[in-house]
Structure formats: structure tokens, C-alpha cells
């Protein structure tokens, strides 16, 4: 319908610049958050069942007579798995999934920044996953009587925020890499679950893997983030920690800047390559 046929409608103000960027971020975050309200099945499958899965590791420790603080380590690690799974499946492989379902072409055609789309995905994912992780942490702590001794709340908040920023920066970076891949993306995301649970020390202090393995695993922000959080939450955490908290905070800050900058650069590069090689619309099924 052209403008002449609807003379009483006011013209729609067009956003541009940072306003368009922000609107795109909110628009992409919106379905993630609202999806939680529409599809309540996640409460059962993602929270209740996750608590049971975390509990299994708690009972392993009890079966072999581990000290009680290991139960707390498992509960905190189990809550953080929600973020890792969200980054893997809803960030890294999301552009691949969007390509397969036909949305990617629409994102590229629309006059918005792809970086804003990725940021929106990350923001929506963080909000949605924080609810799940919080529920796992709360229920797990109540069931297993986990006692926390918070040494420094500002430090704990800083570690948590930096960990998530670096983690979702990694997710945004890998999303652009996955843009070039076909079904490999799906399988590589699947492959990055258990090995990362192992290397990042989700269920035990990463220090036990040895210095150099822990150094290598530190490229995944959750490795140092979890280690620092455990040090700040449990009295014995410092003794079992890999590096001191200030050092871990520093490395996390560097990772955060590095991943976000790399995400921006890679996204532009990969988009150009994908356009040149005609991969944006291909569907190698």
C-alpha cells in the first residue's frame, strides 16, 4: 500500500546510528526473554532436570567420601554449565541455525548492524540463562546445605560480570566463525560440551589438571571465572585455587576486550567472505 492510499497514518520515524543499534539489540533480545514466558517446558527440562544432573556429581563425591566443600564446587559449577550451554547452542551455532532456517539473509538485508544482532542474542541469552542458573544455584544450595563465605561481594560481582562478558564475547566471535561452516558447526558445538566441562574444571578445582593444562584451558573464560568465584565463595577455595583472584580478574578483563574486538573484526571479515563465496544462503543438508 503506498503513502497516498493511507493518508491518515503518520510517517514512521526511522531510527539510525546508535538508536538503530540499540533498537536492534533490544529487538533480538526480546524473543529470547519472551520465549521463556511462552514455553514453560524449560522449567522442567532445563532447571529441574539440570538440578538432578548436578546432584549426581554431588552423590559421587559423597560416595567416595569427599570433603563437603566439593559439594559446593559442584553446585556452583553446575549452575555455570547453563551459561556454557547457552553460549554453545544459542550463540556459537545460532548464525548457522539462522542460516539453515532462512533468517540470516533477512538479518543481512535489513539496515542494521550484525554486531547489534549478536549483542541482542547475547543479552537475551544472559537474562534467560541467569534465571536458570540462579534457580540451579538456589535449589542446589538449599538441598545440599551449601554454606558460602563471601570474602568480597564487589570482587565476586566483578568476576561474575567479567566472566559473562568474556564468555559471551567468545560466543559472538565463534558465531561468526560458524557462519562459514555447514553441519560441522552443529557437531563441533556438540563436541565442545564434555571436553570443556573437563578442562574448565566444572566439577573439580582446575588446579588438579596441572599448571600447563590449566593455563591452556584459561582461554575459556569460565575456567578462571569459576576458579575465582570458588575462591571468593568458599573458605578452602583459595588453597585449591589455580591463580590468585586479582590475576584471574586481570586475565578475564583482557579476554573480555580481546574476544569482543575479535568478534567485531571476524564478523565483518566472515560476512565479506560468506558474501563473496555465496555461503549466506547455502544449505548443505
Amino acid at each position: 500500500m503506498n503513502r497516498e492510499a493511507r493518508p491518515f497514518l503518520p510517517p514512521v520515524p526511522k531510527a539510525s546510528g546508535w538508536r538503530l543499534f540499540l533498537k536492534t539489540v533490544v529487538a533480538r533480545a526480546y524473543p529470547r526473554v519472551i520465549g521463556q514466558q511462552r514455553e514453560r517446558s524449560w522449567i522442567f527440562f532445563d532447571v529441574f532436570l539440570s538440578i538432578l544432573a548436578v546432584s549426581a556429581y554431588v552423590f559421587v563425591y559423597r560416595a567416595i567420601g569427599a570433603p563437603e566443600e566439593y559439594v559446593g564446587f559442584v553446585v556452583v559449577g553446575g549452575a555455570m554449565t547453563a551459561f556454557w550451554l547457552n553460549v554453545l547452542w544459542s550463540m556459537s551455532s545460532q548464525l548457522y541455525w539462522e542460516k539453515e532456517s532462512g533468517n540470516l539473509a533477512l538479518y543481512i538485508m535489513a539496515p542494521n548492524s550484525m554486531m547489534a544482532v549478536l549483542l541482542g542474542m547475547a543479552l537475551g541469552g544472559i537474562i534467560a540463562t541467569a534465571l536458570r542458573a540462579g534457580a540451579i544455584l538456589l535449589v542446589g544450595s538449599l538441598i545440599f546445605h551449601v554454606h558460602y563465605t563471601v570474602g568480597s561481594l564487589p570482587a565476586l560481582i566483578a568476576v561474575f560480570v567479567l566472566t559473562l562478558a568474556a564468555l559471551y564475547g567468545l560466543g559472538m566471535m565463534s558465531a561468526s566463525l560458524f557462519l562459514l561452516w555447514g553441519r560441522e558447526a552443529w557437531h563441533l558445538a556438540n563436541l565442545a560440551q564434555e571436553p570443556i566441562y573437563l578442562l574448565s574444571g566444572f566439577y573439580f578445582p582446575v588446579k588438579n589438571l596441572g599448571f600447563w593444562v590449566a593455563v591452556g584451558a584459561s582461554i575459556i573464560p569460565l575456567t578462571l571465572g569459576l576458579d575465582a568465584m570458588r575462591q571468593l565463595l568458599f573458605p578452602s577455595g583459595a588453597a585449591l585455587g589455580f591463580l590468585s583472584v586479582p590475576v584471574e580478574v586481570g586475565v578475564l578483563a583482557v579476554l573480555c576486550v580481546l574476544f569482543l574486538a575479535a568478534a567485531r573484526g571476524l564478523l565483518g571479515y566472515m560476512e565479506r567472505v560468506a558474501v563473496r563465496e555465496g555461503r549466506l544462503l547455502e544449505s548443505r543438508r
Binding site: 544432573a53 549426581a56 567416595i64 544459542s90
Partner: protein
């Protein structure tokens, strides 16, 4: 619709259609699972995931016990974890086919109008993951025997009991997967795999990695209601013999009794799968969910 095509068919025709659906779905599932890369990368992919999963438990055990891998509880944990790979693989393989066809390939509506038996098709789609899962179980067992002193002696294995238990167990898992597949018809595409989520939860209740006595008394009945509990006990007894009998959970049961319980619970899950499919299939048709896409 497939339901109407076979409403007046004879039993033989229904069986032939189910077998054809199963066979074609098996081929299709294998292509989807395996032809995305070269055989070498596929082999590495199939090895790394299960070995990492086993290594988590090995590190946890090693840290707490200072590496006492000779203790009888270690093979109990290790074997339970190794064979538990089948639980996630088979249940995910069968149930993920619904989401994959509906939202990724967008072919579920075409499958529904084709002359095939839907449950047989889903079971066939699970075979590929069963095969890759078998490879993962073998690799995990080999690593345990070679590097962690898991006491496995082929001459002492009760092979008939092992093969019978394994077959019965895989059928039982496929039926559980069918229940999940029916439920998947009704729910959105979440970022997690429903089969793996359920398998992760049953990890707690099935005595896979610790004896059920470790659970609080109010949770134990749930463990005893799970067919996986009896299946894993049979697998352990057939492979380890007396070592497995050292744990009190099911020591009062003979092998025959355990097989009987496993068979009975498998029949129960078969009935549940049939009922779940009828209910969910009808609801999904009435609510127009067969071709829904949820891309949050």
C-alpha cells in the same frame, strides 16, 4: 495422513510398512550423523566426547582418593558411566529426530503425509546414534582397561548374559526415547537436547555412578523404579562377576530375577510409548504443532 493410510491395513501390511520406515530412517539417520566430515575427523569426534566424560569422573575420583583405582568402587563407577553413554545416545537419537525434522530440515509435515509409520521412523533415526554410541562405549572401556586397571578379563565374562542384557537394555532405551519423541511434538525447540537433559537427570536415579544406598531414603524408590538400574547391574555382573556383587543394592536378586524385572519394565515403557504417541500426536495435530518453528 499416515494414520489414515494404515487404518484399514492388515497386520502384515502394517508390519511391512513399519519395517520399511525403520530401514529407510536408519539409512537417513546414518547419513545425517556421519557424512558431515571425513572418516578421520568423525572418529576423533566419536572418541573425544566419551573419553572427556569418563575423564571428569576419573579426575574427581583420583583427586579425592589419591588415585586408588584398585578399589572395587572404581570399576563400578567406570563401567556404569561407560554403558550410560547408550542412555544419552539412544534417547537423544530417537527424540531429537522430531525437532531436527520439524525445525531444521522442516520436513516433518512431509513425513507425516508420506506412507510411513512415524514411531518406526523415529526408532530408525535413533540407530545411527546407537552405532556411534557403541563405538564410544568400546573406546571408553578400552581406555579403562589399558590405563586405569579396570578388571576386564574376556575369559571370565558371562557373554550370553551380557548380550541378552545389552539387547534388552537398548530396546528399553529406544522405547524411553519414543516417549520423549512424542513429548517433543508438543514442545518448542529449546537450546538443549531433551534426550540428553533426561539422560543427565536419570544419571542420579539409576545408580550409574554410585550405589543407590548413597541416595537419601526417599529418593531410592525412584531408583528402583528405573529399568536402567537393573540393566546396569546386569551389565556389571556379566562383565565383572563377583566384584559387582559386592555392592548391596541389588545383591538379593538373581540374574534371572533382574532380567525378568528389566523385561517387565521394558514392556511397561512400550505401553507408555504407545499411549504417549497417541495422545501427543492427536494434540499436536489439533493445535497445529506439526510444522511449527520456534526460533527464540
Amino acid at each position: 495422513m499416515s494414520r489414515n493410510v494404515y487404518s484399514s491395513a492388515s497386520f502384515r501390511e502394517r508390519w511391512a510398512a513399519a519395517w520399511r520406515s525403520f530401514r529407510v530412517a536408519t539409512w537417513l539417520g546414518w547419513q545425517i550423523e556421519s557424512n558431515w566430515t571425513d572418516p578421520f575427523l568423525f572418529a576423533v569426534y566419536s572418541m573425544v566426547k566419551p573419553l572427556a566424560s569418563a575423564a571428569i569422573l576419573v579426575v574427581m575420583y583420583g583427586v579425592i582418593t589419591n588415585g586408588q583405582f584398585q578399589h572395587p568402587i572404581f570399576p563400578y563407577i567406570y563401567l556404569g558411566n561407560a554403558f550410560y553413554i547408550y542412555v544419552g545416545a539412544v534417547m537423544t537419537g530417537v527424540s531429537w529426530a522430531v525437532i531436527d525434522d520439524r525445525e531444521h530440515y522442516r520436513t516433518l509435515k512431509y513425513i507425516y503425509v508420506a506412507p510411513i509409520r512415524i514411531p518406526a521412523y523415529w526408532l530408525g533415526r535413533g540407530v545411527a546414534r546407537f552405532l556411534t554410541g557403541s563405538f564410544a562405549v568400546l573406546i571408553t572401556l578400552a581406555a579403562g582397561v589399558l590405563f586405569l586397571h579396570v578388571p576386564f578379563h574376556p575369559a571370565r565374562v558371562n557373554w550370553p548374559l551380557f548380550l541378552l542384557s545389552l539387547t534388552l537394555g537398548v530396546v528399553m532405551l529406544a522405547l524411553m526415547g519414543l516417549v520423549l519423541a512424542s513429548i517433543s511434538l508438543m514442545i518448542a525447540h529449546h537450546f538443549f537436547l531433551i534426550g540428553e537433559a533426561v539422560a543427565g537427570a536419570l544419571y542420579l536415579l539409576s545408580g550409574a555412578i554410585f550405589p543407590l544406598e548413597v541416595l537419601p531414603p526417599w529418593l531410592r524408590p525412584l531408583g528402583f523404579a528405573m529399568p536402567i538400574t537393573y540393566w546396569l547391574e546386569l551389565i556389571r555382573r556379566s562383565l565383572l562377576g563377583d566384584v559387582a556383587r559386592g555392592f548391596p543394592t541389588l545383591s538379593g536378586f538373581t540374574n534371572g530375577q533382574l532380567l525378568g524385572i528389566l523385561a517387565g519394565l521394558s514392556v511397561l515403557f512400550g505401553l507408555m510409548a504407545a499411549v504417549a504417541f497417541r495422545l501427543c500426536d492427536r494434540q499436536a495435530r489439533e493445535k497445529g504443532l506439526i510444522d511449527q518453528t520456534t526460533n527464540y
